[in-house]
Amino acid sequence: MTTHAENVGSVSVKQPVEAKKRSAVLDYLTTTDHKKIGVMYLWFSFGMFLVGGLFALIVRTQLANPDGGFVDRDTYNQMFTMHGSIMLFLFIIPIWNGWGNYIVPLQIGALDMAFPRINALSFWMLPVGAVTILSGYFTKDGFAANGWTEYQPIASSHAQAQSPGSGTDLWIIGVLIITIASSLGAINFLVTIFKMRAPGMTMFRMPVFTWNIAVTSILALLAAPVLMSALSMAFIDRNYGGSFFDPNFGGDAILWQNLFWFYSHPAVYIMILPAFGLISEVLPVFSRKPLFGYKAFVFATMAIGALGFSVWAHHMFTTGAVLLGFFAFMTSLIAIPTGVKFFNWLATLWRGQLSFPPPMVFALGFLSMFLIGGINGMFTAQPPIDYALHDTYWVVAHIHYVLFGGSVFAVYSAFYFWFPKVTGRFLNERLGYIHFALTFLGFNLTFFPMHLLGLAGMPRRIAEYAQNPQWQGANVTATVGAFLIAISTLPFIYNVLRSMRYGAPAGSDPWEGNSLEWWTTSPPPVYNFASLPPIRSERPVLDMRLEAEARARLEAESAANAAPDPGSAPV
């Protein structure tokens, strides 16, 4: 295991002379280093996760009582709007940008992202967007309040008694800024991945996480302009007397839904594909096997990306305005590549040597929870069943099993997996298991009962349900679960803060990893790599490890036999 250190040491690259010790704050504010930008993404978006979680707690507290009463109905509408907007636009999407930023250049053996300054720009636009959205609080009518989907015409100022204040305008501008940032980031990732791979790193030797970031970036690049247009149209409707979306003035109410979901359905894959990639890194490492069916996996990712553009109207089955058969069929087709991935993951575990440190535990949690998110989606993919379940709590359960059971479990797995690379220290294992147990329990307590509520007919986005007091039991369970999720973040936060300083030292390759990020030191130097190994497969670091072991074995044998040196036969 000493090979890397020797390798790094053997090339005598001097540490660049530290010009002057600048303050760390100024350093981060002005940096164009992809690793520092990645770390800022992580801090920022995890912070936003906590903020979005606070909004969710208010929503859940309100719903513990059939009469509501914790906040008034207008405030409640603002709370679930902000919860959704923050979690999707400011947590899930950016946190994968963060990991992508940190890890992708390392995985392909690059020095940095292709456009370091654009990289910094696309990060710094996020807090600007966040502040813009959240500043709605200070306007007369508070935050935007029409759900994270901001359906029109309710969110246009023509609609009576709706969104009179500037909260919705600020939401539109904020999301516009975030979407532009996301497009810039996507271009940056694509150029980096296509043009800056190390010698020998062909496309089909790329780590699967990088592959998934590439497909994700293509989706973001193609879909984001549609959302930007829709947002601009909504802004014109609200402020300059336009009427794209208001039929009373010649517009079309369904147009918004078509445009919005044309972005937002691919956006679901923007949120989940990086998670697929991460899982496909973690499972092989902790099974000590290659990913089963690497190429099939890559093609399945591309298939999901492509199909993702043809299914947007499955969010609109009950509008009476879409071709049900086509969209139902395309939606069901997505189950095929997703199924391929699942089988490949299972086959990766098959006959492996599995160990269960926290990243693996979260990855296995991902498999079993995301599975439910896939299955309950197959119900709503059938139009007749969707007539019953659309816009009920079943859909809320579905989105959370996909994005929490899927993405968030994978995000946590990524933290435990790559934290040693970022800081050079392990996260505490015992706290990791406690964190997992609390998260798993809280998550299922919160979201499983929502299936039952959906079947019982409880619509989304209602502030109270005095007419249906029989829904209270499941709602109280969900509320208890939500607080458990909130508590579950505490051991994690404590663990991160403590382990940054006092965690056990990790070394450059703590997990016996496969991909190039494990070749360099932890944390990596500014220039990422002092040397690169030859890249002859999708697991270059493993190849080097095996070669070193084989050489050591041969040397031992030859010393014992006192036979002539057979030379270094590659394995």
């Binding site: 109905r73 517009g251 096997k289 299955i375 139009p383 989304r460």
Partner: protein
């Protein structure tokens, strides 16, 4: 998971049983997938955990074309089969090949419902003593084909009958409709399912399915009771400031003599009031067409009319309307 089948409400309509049966099929497949995948996961996790006795690397299996083809084709067959069922279920649930016995025009507005059965017969939310709207109750005959035609005047709502496992959006600028045959009598709940603003949660309604004779008796009663009161020669009508509503939906006047009507708009929204012979036949008895007033008072006289039911409405907001009854 086992709970979910039991909880699937297989409601009171022919269509809902169709949907419920299909749900159960998907549920069974879902259960098989869930148990299969999680079972394999648990089995692998126990069986293949790393042991101290393990030497070297496990077999480095990179994949298998046969396996990939198998687990592409099998789910594909499943998906195609499911789609076939979905298609046939969809066609049967959405069929409109029979003419309906009763057509109800549903108007959604912020935040209540109005059910228009045609022929000047409408069911609106009644108001309690404080003027707050109550949950409106619509009735339909059991065992007959009912057509719901859905319209909205400003934002999107969704007409949701949970016990019929059915909803359809109420979209401004679109005429959505669906047919349903409710075959078990009873009182059912309904609710708006598409977020529509502040009081979205309060947009409830009730639907009662009852036999034909009772249904007809109800229509007759409602028609008679919907507008009642002492006839008066001087009538007043007003719109509260900023609201899209009249304070009354019924004005009662004596037959055979002219009547003085005073309308006051509290401001905030432009309104007017037109009194017409009937909703369909719009011979104007009072008011100037195309002339909304932003605020203030308008007074005029309605010429003597024979006894009967007439109609008044606001041209800017057709949802504001009521009955002008002469007796």
């Amino acid at each position: 998971m086992g709970l979910l089948t039991g909880c699937a409400p297989t409601g009171g309509s022919v269509e809902s049983r169709e949907i419920g049966d299909f749900y159960n099929v998907v549920f069974f497949l879902a259960l098989v997938v869930f148990v299969g995948v999680n079972g394999a996961l648990l089995y692998f996790v126990t069986k293949y955990r790393r042991r101290p006795t393990d030497v070297g690397m496990p077999p480095q299996i990179h994949g298998s074309t046969i396996a990939e083809v198998t687990w592409t084709v099998l789910p594909a067959l499943l998906v195609f089969g499911l789609f076939g069922m979905s298609w046939s279920s969809m066609r049967s649930v959405d069929r409109k090949d029979e003419p309906p016995n009763v057509t109800v025009n549903v108007q959604g507005y912020q935040w209540n419902w109005e059910f228009d059965y045609g022929n000047n017969f409408k069911v609106k939310a009644k108001k309690d003593a404080d003027g707050k709207p109550l949950v409106p109750l619509m009735k339909v005959p059991v065992g007959e084909r009912i057509r719901f035609v859905l319209t909205s005047d400003n934002v999107i709502h969704s007409f949701f009958l949970p016990e019929m496992l059915f909803k359809r959006d109420v979209v401004p600028g679109r005429l959505n409709q669906f047919d349903i045959t409710i075959d078990s009598a009873g009182l059912y709940k309904g609710q708006c399912a598409e977020f529509c603003g502040t009081d979205h949660a309060l947009m409830n309604f009730q639907l009662q399915a009852l036999n034909r004779a009772d249904f007809e008796a109800w229509v007759k009663d409602e028609k008679a009771n919907s507008c009642a009161g002492e006839p008066a020669g001087t009538l007043e009508l007003a719109s509260p400031p900023g609201q899209i509503a009249y304070d009354k939906d019924c004005l009662v006047a004596p037959a055979g003599q002219p009547v003085k009507l005073t309308y006051t708009n509290g401001g905030g929204q432009p309104h007017n009031v037109l009194v017409v012979k009937s909703e369909k036949e719009r011979g104007t008895l009072f008011g100037k067409s195309g002339d909304p007033i932003p605020s203030g008072t308008e007074t005029g006289e309605i010429a003597a009319q024979p006894a009967g039911q007439y109609f008044f409405f606001c041209q800017v907001h057709p949802v504001m309307n009521g009955t002008y009854k002469v007796q």
